[in-house]
């Protein structure tokens, strides 16, 4: 019963149409949340008693670091679904996610370096958190390069899926690196919500930015997914009958 719905959703014409409306449903709330989070983080939140105004970098650094891992997780799960159940749409989700995830990994690394300079006195250290996040960027690059290097689409899907799935072991390493090893990187602020380590007026803009960035990824993913579906289905009859519009 619910399987019928599932297969309908996973069919390219339905996926194409639904992705089109979801893009707007994700995109506009994301836009509003990011604007509100920026205002809250840059204007309303007070300066940190230790880090002064430099702590405001957290409002772009933490959401991009979160997305770098969330997108990787999404990509690996989608790749696994595509590999196991041979659902083309799942491979399309994985293919569409990789460049977006790579861009946020890059952003997390660069904003982290810029934050590290005034706080730690150095742009970069080869410690566990920074090195594992850099490895994440290489994993994204590897998945994208592998996909691009194979002409046959099914083989490219499968090969890049295997690499994406293997690379997922890096996610817990990134997350727990600040607890397992000595590092300059501060511990997570948010997983300690039970015992708040951040004042409310600093915390809410961060939560709003995290949600805004996540929805933003949803919107960009939907647009890329539509392009990916069209590329994969270019000879399909539904494109000619207009079923997807």
């Amino acid at each position: 019963m619910s399987w019928i719905w599932f297969h309908k959703l996973a069919s390219p014409p339905h996926g194409y149409r639904i992705a089109g409306s979801l893009a707007a449903w994700f995109g506009w709330p994301a836009f509003i949340l990011i604007i509100a989070g920026l205002y809250g983080g840059l204007v309303l939140a007070p300066a940190d008693y230790q880090q002064g105004d430099a702590f405001r970098i957290v409002y772009v650094h933490a959401p991009s670091a979160w997305l770098s891992m969330f997108i990787y997780g999404t990509m690996a799960v989608a790749a696994a679904v595509g590999l196991v159940w041979r659902i083309k749409l799942a491979h399309a989700v994985a293919a569409a996610s990789a460049p977006v995830g790579a861009s946020f990994t890059f952003l997390a690394l660069v904003t982290g370096a810029i934050w590290g300079k005034p706080m730690w006195g150095t742009w970069w250290v080869w410690d566990a958190r920074l090195t594992s996040e850099l490895l994440l960027l290489f994993l994204y690059a590897g998945v994208m390069a592998l996909r691009a290097s194979i002409d046959d689409r099914d083989r490219a899907d499968r090969a890049s899926a295997v690499l994406a799935i293997v690379g997922i072991v890096n996610l817990p390493i990134i997350h727990y690196s600040v607890y397992w090893w000595n590092t300059l990187h501060q511990e997570s602020t948010l997983t300690k919500i039970g015992k708040p380590s951040m004042a409310g007026e600093m915390l809410w803009p961060l939560l709003v930015m995290l949600l805004g960035f996540t929805l933003y990824y949803g919107a960009v993913l939907m647009v890329r997914l539509r392009a990916e579906i069209l590329r994969r289905e270019r000879d399909a009859s539904w494109l000619r009958t207009g079923a997807g519009s």
Binding site: L42, P118, R231
Partner: protein, 54 residues
């Protein structure tokens, strides 16, 4: 206002981060839309030429 832009002396670190974030956010939207437009045009062209070859 000047005080706001000075960021307590950290302006040279704070603003580049937000600028870079803005660039990444805008780039992702532009790149995704370009891909979709290109894919849509390719489909339309293949319909025009009758046989959707390539």
């Amino acid at each position: 206002m000047n005080e706001f832009f000075a960021m307590g002396g950290y302006a040279a670190f704070v603003w580049p981060c937000f600028l870079l974030a803005a660039i990444v956010l805008v780039w992702n939207v532009v790149a995704a839309r370009r891909l979709l437009n290109a894919a849509q045009n390719r489909v339309l062209r293949s319909i025009d030429t009758g046989k959707g070859r390539r």
